[in-house]
């Protein structure tokens, strides 16, 4: 019996992962490749064409992309800033028990997305929502129609709900990676608390914060259920448009849907790629400076 470690690379060993690979090919990779191919082919003549991509230049699609990017970018930024600040507050909290409880809360709430979350926001901020009515009756603040949960501003509020806890989960490990010795040496050299964070803490956290920002962007860009429940067709977003095309609720060339999908895939790929780069940089920073 030879030891596994000393064994040579054996081609037959590769067969062990065949079922899994076949599954990924069948339900993910081949369909996506065919989708990319379909976006570049004229269905009638079967010839190569860029016309689907050129059709994306019409106001409806430009608007969808602009809204999606604006919504994802804004909620990623808000989530990133608030999440980092709250993560810092959690990290500096004296009781470990409270720290654990708050991380658990983030863990649970970041998964409360989709239809139930959207409905919960209708309950508090809908036309007859609890907060809407309290503000109106006791503070004489009229939310509607200026701020409506069924519009862009409402989506921002709902998206921030799952973005903030996700950011906390992503950035808390980075705070914990900061070594006590770094703070002590900064202090012994006469640095103030602010100087430490500005010159040492923040630069060390930066890759993790940027990684969080990119992941939050992708997270919001791909979201569908929350937006579908809240705004349906009142605001055009990329994912909503693609969804309507699949459901057959709008009659369009499927090629346009595929072209939109490919552009979304590129945007998502860029943010996930940046995320991977930033996390690698974050790990490298912590390792090389310790």
């Amino acid at each position: 019996m030879t030891s596994i470690k000393s064994r040579k690379r054996n081609i037959t060993d590769l067969f062990g992962v065949v079922p899994f690979l076949l599954f990924c090919l069948a339900f993910e990779i081949i369909p996506i490749i065919l989708l990319i191919r379909g976006s570049l082919i004229d269905k009638a003549t079967k010839a190569f064409t860029l016309k689907h991509y050129l059709s994306l230049g019409t106001p409806l699609y430009i608007n969808s992309f602009w809204n999606s990017i604006k919504l994802s970018g804004l909620t990623a930024l808000i989530g990133c800033i608030l999440g980092t600040l709250i993560a810092y507050a959690i990290y500096r909290w004296p009781s470990i028990k409270v720290q654990h409880a708050l991380v658990t809360l983030s863990d649970v709430t970041t998964n409360f997305a989709g239809a139930p979350l959207a409905f919960a926001f209708i309950v508090i901020l809908g036309m007859n929502g609890v907060i809407t009515q309290i503000l109106l009756r006791y503070f004489h603040i009229q939310l509607y129609p200026k701020l409506s949960i069924y519009s862009f501003s409402g989506l921002v509020l709902a998206y921030v709900y799952f973005q903030v806890p996700l950011m906390i989960l992503l950035v808390i490990p980075a705070f914990e990676g900061l070594k006590k010795e770094w703070f002590e040496s900064a202090q012994s050299l006469g640095a103030s608390n602010f100087q430490y964070w500005w010159r040492i803490g923040l630069p060390l956290l930066m890759p993790s914060i940027i990684a969080g920002l990119t992941l939050l962007f992708a997270n919001a860009f791909g979201a569908f259920a929350t937006a579908y429940t809240l705004v349906e067709s009142q605001l055009s977003l990329v994912t909503l448009q693609i969804g309507f095309m699949i459901a057959g609720e709008v009659r369009h060339d499927p090629g346009i849907g595929m072209a939109m999908s490919v552009v979304s895939l590129i945007l998502m790929g860029l943010s996930i790629g940046l995320y991977q780069l930033s996390t690698r940089r974050a790990k490298w920073l912590v390792r090389s400076s310790s």
């Binding site: 054996n10 060993d13 590769l14 062990g16 992962v17 899994f20 339900f27 993910e28 081949i30 996506i32 989708l35 379909g38 600040l85 990290y91 500096r92 909290w93 004296p94 708050l102 998964n111 239809a115 139930p116 959207a118 919960a120 209708i122 309950v123 809908g126 007859n128 609890v130 309290i134 799952f162 903030v164 996700l166 989960l169 914990e176 900061l178 006590k180 703070f183 992941l215 992708a218 997270n219 860009f221 791909g222 569908f224 259920a225 929350t226 579908y228 429940t229 994912t239 693609i242 969804g243 095309m245 699949i246 459901a247 849907g257 595929m258 999908s261 979304s264 895939l265 998502m268 790929g269």
Partner: protein, 273 residues
């Protein structure tokens, strides 16, 4: 861990954490209260309490069938995911560790594909009977989408045990790969398997996009019923939301409980929604 050992939290911390907890709990608590309130749009606290919306919800025509469909979908996804992922992760760790980066890439790939795009791609390719818009196609899609949630805990659990030594010990006693997995490896990574399964269960139970776009009304799941009722009857929708939240809470509590029992730290994969 803290830089300056604080004995008391400062006021800015109380303020920030207070706002955070308020924002996180307000929508959920409101939904719970709304589901038992007779009328709650004229006063700060509801005017009265009732369970009639729950009775309405239980009587709703697709209530039982949509709950059943959601359970079928979630459990089938967990089982297919387990059968695909556990042996593969084991095999990669023991026999072909040089392919691990490839496995990692395959597992992060679903995060980069918006669910609507996956739905469009699958609906376009499998447009023939019997696969077209069938629950089987849906399970395939949902397994792909939930794969990272299963992979992380299982992979962490396998990394935490000395899988090579265990395998060698088993082999020297004459066990084949199947016996090894069943008798040695799986019992040692049960914490990871349970965490992953519960996480996948909770994720798929709340899944809306793929179900709606791939199968549609023919296979109505619980989240689809909920979305339908947000437009018909808010009170019944609140009761549905509470049921949905409660299942999610239970799954989360179970994950925490399972995680605290094993030595493997509970690590959650982060999903793109």
């Amino acid at each position: 861990m803290n830089l300056n050992k604080q004995t008391k939290a400062s006021s800015w911390q109380y303020l920030l954490i207070g706002i955070f907890i308020f924002y996180m709990l307000l929508p959920i608590v409101s939904t719970y209260v709304f589901s038992v309130a007779t009328r709650w749009d004229r006063t700060i606290l509801p005017e009265g309490y009732t369970v009639s919306y729950y009775i309405q919800a239980f009587k709703a025509s697709y209530f039982i069938s949509s709950l059943r469909n959601s359970f079928i979908l979630s459990i089938a996804t967990v089982l297919v995911g387990l059968v695909l992922i556990v042996p593969t992760v084991y095999w990669v760790h023991v026999r072909i560790p040089y392919t691990k980066p490839l496995l990692d890439v395959l597992m992060i790939l679903p995060f980069g594909i918006p669910t609507v795009v996956l739905a469009l791609a699958l609906v376009q390719v499998y447009n023939f009977a019997p696969l077209a818009r069938s629950p089987v196609l849906l399970i395939g899609a949902v397994v792909i989408y939930s794969m990272p949630f299963m992979y992380r805990p299982v992979s962490n659990a396998i990394q935490a045990i000395d899988v090579v030594t265990l395998t060698e010990a088993g082999q020297s006693l004459g066990a084949n790969t199947f016996q090894l997995l069943r008798r040695v490896i799986i019992p040692n990574i049960l914490t990871g398997i349970w965490s992953g399964s519960l996480l996948v269960f909770a994720t798929v139970f709340a899944e809306f996009t793929l179900t709606k776009l791939i199968v549609g009304a023919r296979f109505k799941t619980f989240p689809m019923l909920l979305v339908e009722y947000t437009r018909i009857n808010g009170n019944t929708a609140a009761a549905f939301s509470v049921i949905s939240f409660t299942i999610a809470w239970l799954a989360s509590l179970l994950i925490l409980w399972v995680g605290s029992k094993g030595q493997v730290p509970y690590q959650k994969a982060i999903g793109a929604r």
